[in-house]
């Protein structure tokens, strides 16, 4: 097990170095740190001096090593537009995205588990058929269309909910939170609902499939034979054993949700990391773009590694397969 963890961590470090290399190449080819520092009105000779001071004339591998060293220390350069360290800019935007993902995860759990269980227990009822039909269509609807439809219905036509921004936020120890004001919560509803709509079909199907499989097993038949109350069989005996695969998939999909926040945040002008990323593209803010790439890379690698290690604990086949 120890060897397995070490191997996974080494692999994670290699992936991070590769992502770092991609980021470094982008920054090296497209960004101009001298312009970022002094603007356009400096003579070429002075620029050359600054380039030397910044070490931009060093061999490329020296620069890469320096880039990695700085990145490990948490220094990803200055954002051209914000004139602040890029990581600071991202940290300021992160709470918005994290809150959005948290609420989305909450909606996913609260909706998909009951819906999945119900349609597994009563596969023939019209309600289950409706759930399955809706989730088939749901897969085909891009998230931005769901978001636009929700905005049109609830913000433009009915005028019940706000359509953009985060609303009023409260600052708690440097964390801008929308959880504690009525206005902030109202702003969270539409983005979170549309973000969860991409994952809902998948999760409902997953819970349903797992639950149906478990209901066929011997120990459930035994539980019926013992004459246990059906609530007990369903919710205590069967449901508990569907949780493991669901949690695993959930861990992996949480990373994918980050990708989709870019789309949702654009529609709702949600001031999070995804929105910031697109603004950085519009403004050619290369440093910020690379910093975002590295941060997202870290999130994925950490989540994947943790999921793999947990899986290794639970399922011995995974750790043996890798050793050959």
């Amino acid at each position: 097990m120890f060897a397995f963890i070490i191997r996974r961590i080494i692999q994670a470090i290699i992936v991070m170095l590769v992502i770092g290399m991609v980021g470094f190449v982008i920054q090296n080819q497209m960004g101009d740190p001298v312009r970022d520092l002094v603007g356009e009105r400096v003579t070429p000779a002075e620029r050359e001096v600054i380039r030397d001071q910044l070490g931009l004339n060093d061999p490329i591998y020296v620069q890469y090593v320096r880039f990695v060293k700085n990145a490990v220390r948490g220094d990803l350069g200055l954002s051209f537009f914000y004139k602040k360290p890029a990581l600071e800019v991202i940290a300021a935007k992160a709470p918005a995205t994290i809150e959005l993902v948290l609420v989305t995860a909450f909606i996913l759990i609260v909706v998909s588990i009951p819906a999945g269980i119900y349609s597994a227990i009563y596969p023939k009822s019209w309600y289950s058929r409706l759930v399955m039909a809706v989730s088939t269509i749901g897969v085909a609807v891009p998230v931005f269309l769901t978001a636009i439809a929700l905005i049109y219905l609830f913000a433009v036509e009915l005028n019940w909910l706000p359509s953009y921004g985060r609303g009023e936020t409260v600052n708690i120890w440097g964390w801008e939170s929308g959880f504690f004001t009525w206005d902030g919560l109202k702003h969270l509803i539409l983005p979170a609902v549309s973000l969860s709509s991409i994952m809902l079909p998948l999760f409902i199907r997953l819970v349903r499939a797992e639950m149906m499989e478990v209901l066929e097993t011997e120990y459930i038949k035994f539980a019926w034979a013992k004459g246990l109350h059906r609530q007990r069989v369903w919710y205590i005996h069967a449901f508990k054993n569907t949780l493991l695969p669901v949690i695993t998939v959930f861990g992996v999909q949480l990373g994918i949700l980050v990708a989709f926040t870019i789309l949702t945040e654009t529609v709702f002008q949600w001031q999070g990391m995804g929105f910031m990323f697109l603004e950085a593209v519009e403004r050619s803010d290369t440093t910020l773009l690379v910093a975002y790439l590295v941060v997202v890379g870290v999130i994925f690698v950490v989540v994947n590694t943790i999921v793999d290690i947990i899986y290794g604990f639970v399922n011995p086949m995974v750790r043996i397969a890798g050793t050959k």
């Binding site: 497209m30 085909a140 891009p142 269309l145 636009i148 049109y152 773009l289």
Partner: protein
């Protein structure tokens, strides 16, 4: 003639005829494809030609609504282009990019999968490590990043000109590991079978064995994932265009049409977003349904069980 006979008696056609959902999706898909191929012939207006539309016609509602005009059945967009014609051209672009990207994915993925599965060894370890690394990052993130980088590198104007080939490359390269893994898995299953052994014994060169003997037997899973991949590629293209990293508004795909319409939804011009949106959903849905059907039919586990 013989291939026709074989198709007529095949299990594939037999199960197709018994599945109304598959028939319906197939018909809809064929209609959409034909419409998009014939776009220049059947559309009332050529929306790529700026001389054919007038900004004064902009935001005309659909014909059946108040203020609508007979000459624009589904109304016009913000530039005064006939929405129906623009949508058909958009469908054409979306399909072109979707199919193109999947072809690229398939070529790269099959090549990598075949080589690493059949040759094995260090090459296999190396190629699969790359595939693993890319696979651990969601394809949409890869596509969005590559598109952003290309856009910065080429500049906005040049990127808009080259959008179609660039999008094919971006979406194609973001999803090849799926093919590589699928093909490699079935190559590993095939390569120790007797017919391959026999071919090796009579001394056929290994490239020929790979191409003529192993490759055709890995095509079933490739066919199954290809349908789903087209739907996913169309969706990726729409997402990229919606983010402003895809097709420009002058040559819109369905995604960029939705993007341009979204800005006007607050002023009540819902049709610019609604109709392209519906068309996009229908397109993706029929491809997905066909893919599901194909998977059920071609999956030997389900077929025998």
């Amino acid at each position: 003639m013989r291939t026709w006979e074989r198709l007529k008696n095949s299990y594939l056609l037999h199960s197709f005829k018994r599945d109304p959902v598959a028939i319906l999706s197939f018909c809809v898909l064929v209609v959409l494809v034909v419409i998009s191929i014939l776009a220049p012939v059947i559309t009332p207006y050529n929306t790529y030609d700026t001389a054919t539309f007038d900004i004064m016609d902009s935001e005309t509602p659909p014909a059946w609504m108040e203020g609508g005009s007979e000459s624009f059945i589904l109304g016009t967009d913000i530039q005064g282009r006939d929405l129906l014609s623009t949508m058909i051209y958009g469908l054409r672009v979306s399909l072109l990019i979707g199919v193109g990207a999947v072809l690229l994915q398939a070529v790269v993925g099959i090549l990598v999968g075949l080589l690493s599965g059949y040759l094995g060894g260090k090459l296999d370890a190396f190629l699969m490590r790359i595939a693993d690394i890319q696979f651990s990052i969601p394809y949409l993130i890869v596509a969005i990043f590559t598109a952003a980088i290309f856009k910065l590198a080429y500049g906005v104007g040049r990127y808009a000109e080259l959008a179609v080939p660039l999008l094919i490359i971006i979406i194609g390269m973001s999803e090849w590991p799926k093919y590589a893994r699928t093909v490699r898995a079935s190559v590993l299953g095939e390569k120790n079978k007797e017919y391959v052994e026999a071919a090796r014994v009579i001394g056929i060169n290994r490239w020929l064995i790979m191409y003529r003997h192993v490759l055709p037997n890995t095509m079933t899973p490739v066919l199954v994932i290809s349908t789903i991949q087209v739907a996913e590629a169309v969706m990726s293209e729409a997402a990229l265009s919606f983010l402003g990293l895809g097709m420009p508004v002058t040559k819109p795909s369905l995604g960029s049409l939705i993007r341009s319409g979204f800005e006007y939804i607050f002023s009540g011009s819902w049709w610019i977003t609604f109709f392209p949106g519906i068309l996009l959903v229908i397109l993706i849905l029929v491809i997905l349904l066909l893919g599901d059907w194909l998977r059920d039919v071609l999956n030997p586990k389900l077929y025998k069980g």
